[in-house]
Amino acid sequence: MTFVLEKAAAPAGLRRIVIDPVSRVEGHGKVTILLDADNRVHQVRLHIVEFRGFERFIQGRPYWEVPVMVQRLCGICPVSHHLAASKALDLVVGAKKLTRTAEKCRRLMHYGQILQSHALHFYHLASPDLLFGFDAPVAKRNVVGVIAEHPELATQGVLLRKFGQEVIRITAGKRVHGTGAIPGGVNKSVTHAERDELLPQMPQILAWARGAVRIAVDLHRAHQEEYDGFGYVRSNLLSLVGKNGDLDLYDGTLRARDADGGILFDGVDSQNYRAHLKEDVRSWSYMKFPFIGSLGADLGWYKVGPLARIQNCDRIPTPLAEEARQEFLARSPGKLVHAPLAYHTARMIELLHAAEVIDGLLRDDDLHGDDLVAKGPRQIQGVGIIEAPRGTLIHHYEVDSQDLVTMCNLIVSTTHNNQAMNEAIREVARKYLDGKEPTEGLLNHVEVAIRAFDPCLSCATHALGKMPLVVELRSADGALVEEIVRE
């Protein structure tokens, strides 16, 4: 099937506008837009332009190397890949349940990652658009401009991120590409001295995190109507949900809702992800297009990440973030929020939640235990799913009797949002570009919509999964002639 504005009916003679590279996002992507002589928009595409094939060269490596190798997929969320791989390999070494110390050290590492990544995205990458306007001059529209005009806000962003990075350093050995987690547990716990480096900072971090939610809410309210409609894209939602429907970014079962909030599936064990998610390929992007299998490619695509998570869960189990979530939900009673720019507020609510979780963990003596690794009967495969800063991250490995990896399947967060990002930029193109001479400022509107999703295009270019692949053969009038599924 082809979505509206995905493919120009007659591309010959159309003028090609390109945004290359998409900037202030992580990774490599570009947007192409085809316009006719009257600047009417005929085609809009977000292309992921690199192919790296991590899954392929990981085959043949010993499984214990994997958590350290795969974090090189992404320098912004290395901890997410590190932990998703470790969770999958926990099952391979038969560690169905980790020791309390191991699980809490990993959770601390993960929420440190959420805190630093969300701070980085909001303050360093996205805030210039929100503070200065989508068509502000290029010279000013960046973090240097924010530092010059809003030094206090910029400094808070730098220091929030620094704190998250320090949590990672203490749990993983270094800030980027550390170790820490190993199959079955962790290789070190947190010392009292390390805790004492972090804990005294918590009151300030919590205060800034509350302020971050306020800043995001205020920026949205200042442009309520424009932001609510900007790149608006209704879709299903997918995320992990923890026990009792709690928001849990480290572990849980898969839940999906339709665009009105109805449950599509719930309580799905991570080991069974393949039964529910399928993927399409387009000729023009190396990033695949996942969808919920039972709904098909046309209707089954979905959003992941903060906006999906805080609406998919039943509650956030920390008080300040839950209060902020309730305020967020109260602004559109009974209706799911689908505005991409609402991701920013949702992200800051999660940042506050991460700060609260870290605060709680730092007061927990289990962090200092010395029972670090669990073991059990060796298994041949395992799936690890985690909620990375950008959304649901799936790692799946098979390991042979020689301890070598024979199969690796990664579905990274950003890939899930592929269709939603493409639909969002098509909506922006319809509303802001259609019929106008495209200026730099107008084109930045397209990037603003992409940035809202906080895509990690670097992850997406490394990781190309082997999901069940569905090919639909349709006749010229769109009727389905044949559907072939490769499991």
Binding site: I19, P21, S23, R24, V25, E26, G27, H28, H47, V49, E50, F51, R52, G53, E55, R56, F57, M69, R72, L73, C74, G75, I76, P78, L120, H124, L125, V138, R141, N142, V144, I147, T155, V158, L159, R161, K162, Q165, R175, V176, H177, V281, R282, S283, W284, S285, Y286, N444, E447, S458, H462, L464, G465, K466, L469, V471, L473, I484, V485, R486
Partner: protein, 182 residues
């Protein structure tokens, strides 16, 4: 560092890398504010400048894995007086070069072409997609590189030492503890 009259103009980009080196650059934390008194950014993932203009310093992360990487690398070499390979991938190809012993066509087929019983899988192929190279290369395979900053990633302290040496007009020297090849 004494404030300079004219700021050093610096471009940065990530080629076939993971952005971890750029994260390490941001790990300068508060020192970023100090650094910005002495440098200004041209093309970089943190600005919206899409092509590299004339610069004093270019810093590239990541190796070279496709035709687009080659293009950006040459652009940087042409525009930047001094060009730095930052991090393991830029210096020697890094982890992505693990695919060098594999046939790129096999890799693509593995991912996109369907197996037994399916007839219509395909490998993405479009003029908008830069062609992958058969191997991942370090930057100095393609252009002359003036400085190599090893590490995966180089630590913020290493980047700081390197940049402050350059800004002060010294030959950069990373002592014990700052040079590492993880």
């Amino acid at each position: 560092m004494a404030p300079e009259k004219k700021k050093l103009r610096v471009a940065t980009a990530s080629l076939a890398g993971c952005f971890g080196c750029h994260m390490s650059l941001l790990d300068l934390d508060e020192r970023i504010l100090e650094l910005l008194k002495h440098i200004e950014f041209d093309r970089s993932p943190i600005t919206d400048i899409k092509t590299c203009g004339p610069c004093d310093l270019g810093i590239l992360e990541g190796g070279v894995c496709n035709a687009e990487n080659v293009h950006v690398l040459r652009e940087f070499r042409k525009q930047c007086k001094t060009l730095v390979a930052m991090g393991a991938c830029a210096v020697n190809g890094g982890l992505p070069a693990q695919r060098n012993h594999l046939d790129v066509r096999d890799c693509l087929q593995d991912v996109y072409l369907v197996g037994v019983g399916v007839s219509r899988g395909f490998i993405p192929n479009d003029p908008e997609l830069p062609l992958p190279l058969d191997r991942v290369h370090p930057l100095h395979d393609v252009v002359k590189i003036d400085y190599f900053l090893p590490g995966c990633p180089p630590s913020a302290d290493a980047i700081w030492q390197f940049l402050t040496d350059l800004l002060a007009g010294r030959t950069p020297h990373l002592g014990h503890g700052l040079i590492h090849y993880d």
